[in-house]
């Protein structure tokens, strides 16, 4: 097990592994998203309360799930990089940040686009939207810190500490926002979550969620690949790989 990890954690093997995985991930993401979109936009029935507007759920909810998931991945791989000094874990953490930030932004904007027809306003200080906004701040802080530090290794480690502090804080922030919200929320705002979702509506959601997850792996590996190309450009294996590929 350990030798397996160490083998694939070396930049060379990780690069070759990524090269092999990327086409597979790309195509399966595309297929899943196309199927999910077809199911979600065409097959799934119209909601009797919200009409067609509920179809935003198929980007909003998976994006919101991914925004949390990616932050966890980022913090975990950052911690692995910090403790065991595995370069590839740092690369995974820093490659995840822009994707996570993009999903967070997507969840926020689609939430707002959904809120306008349903609540009548673009923005409500709803607990979940507010938590998501704070999560976006955390992502932006991570990205800003990373770009401010010149030395790559220092940047990766500093960002890992920041991400870990963020992970400790996320439940606290989430809880406090939730609590704050129940105090201030009037009964006027209708909540979306119904106890049970019809299966025909749930299936596309799960397909989209899986598609988003594979997309994340795909986009993250694309970024990791660039990072390896940048950091390992002077190694012999990279030179051999590139000149070999040229022939």
């Amino acid at each position: 097990m350990w030798s397996f990890i160490h083998k694939h954690a070396s930049p060379k093997h990780f690069y070759l592994l990524a090269e092999r995985l990327i086409p597979w991930l790309g195509w399966s993401t595309l297929i899943l998203l196309v199927v999910g979109l077809y199911q979600g936009l065409i097959v799934a029935p119209t909601d009797y309360q919200q009409g067609e507007s509920y179809r935003i759920i198929y980007v909003h909810v998976p994006a919101a799930w991914m925004s949390m998931f990616i932050y966890m991945v980022m913090a975990t791989s950052g911690a692995i990089g910090l403790v065991w000094k595995i370069k590839m874990a740092d690369a995974v953490a820093s490659s995840s940040a822009p994707i996570g930030a993009a999903f967070t932004l997507l969840a926020l904007v689609t939430g707002s686009l959904w809120g306008k027809p349903m609540w009548g306003t673009w923005w409500v200080w709803d607990a979940r939207l507010t938590s998501e906004l704070i999560l976006l701040f955390l992502y932006l802080g991570f990205i800003a810190l990373e770009s401010a530090i010149e030395d790559r290794r220092t940047a990766a480690n500093a960002c890992a500490v920041l991400a870990l502090v963020g992970v400790v804080n996320i439940p606290i922030i989430h809880y406090s926002v939730e609590w704050w919200n129940t105090l201030h929320q009037g009964a006027t705002v209708t909540r979306f979550d119904k106890p049970a979702m019809a299966t025909s509506m749930l299936i596309p959601l799960l397909i989209m969620a899986l598609g988003f997850k594979l997309y994340y792996l795909y986009a993250m590996l694309l970024r990791v690949r660039v990072k390896i190309l940048e950091s390992e450009k002077d190694t012999t294996w990279m030179k051999e790989l590139i000149t070999g590929a040229k022939k």
Binding site: L82, I134, F137, L138, L140, G141, A144, L145, A148, I149, T154, N157, A158, V161, L162, L164, V165, G166, V168, N169, I172, I173, Y175, S176, V177, W179, W180, L183
Partner: protein, 227 residues
Amino acid sequence: MKNASLSNAFFTMLKRDLTLALRTRSEIANPLLFFIIVVSLFPLAVSPEESLLRTMAPGIIWVAALLATMLSLDSIFRSDFEDGSLEQMLLSPQPIALLVLGKIMAHWLVSGLPLILIAPILGISLFLPGEAMFALLATLALGTPVLSLVGSIGVALTVGLRRGGVLLSLLVLPLYIPVLIFASNAIATAAAGISIKGQLYFLAALFALAVTLAPMATAAALRISLR
């Protein structure tokens, strides 16, 4: 013997930082002045109307306290970083987290405590009712140490950077949100005459969490920044 030397290290650091801070009095005066000025801007900007200011007072005071603490954070490590004594500190045999805790405590005594002392006057000027005064003091007493503790992590991460100021606020302010929510809400609740035990317990829990974890995170961050 070991215990004695540990507490020695802590108090030596505390005393040293306090002496240094007291020598340059502006370190105490500036955040305090900032705090007062920001609070007094609100009646000018919004309206001097009593009922409006009364409802906004907890929020105004706490946001101002947040900003004042944040502006003073840089002084925890900046001058020590510049003259190299921070590096010496990292090389010392004492646990760094403990030395860091000493520095944070000195920072709080210099920048947090004056805020608490001046806050009742600002509360009166914003028409905060008397019942809320205790809540104001209690939340500041429990909350401002958390601000110093959590902020020290941010400072440690950015101390080696030339333009760390704005970045620091970007890193630290989102982490201050729980303190802000519970503290300002406690004051507003107390003004309405309702018990604020729950909020105070929560702030105390935050303080306990911060005082145990933040010095360690700060020590780790310092080691990374100064490598």
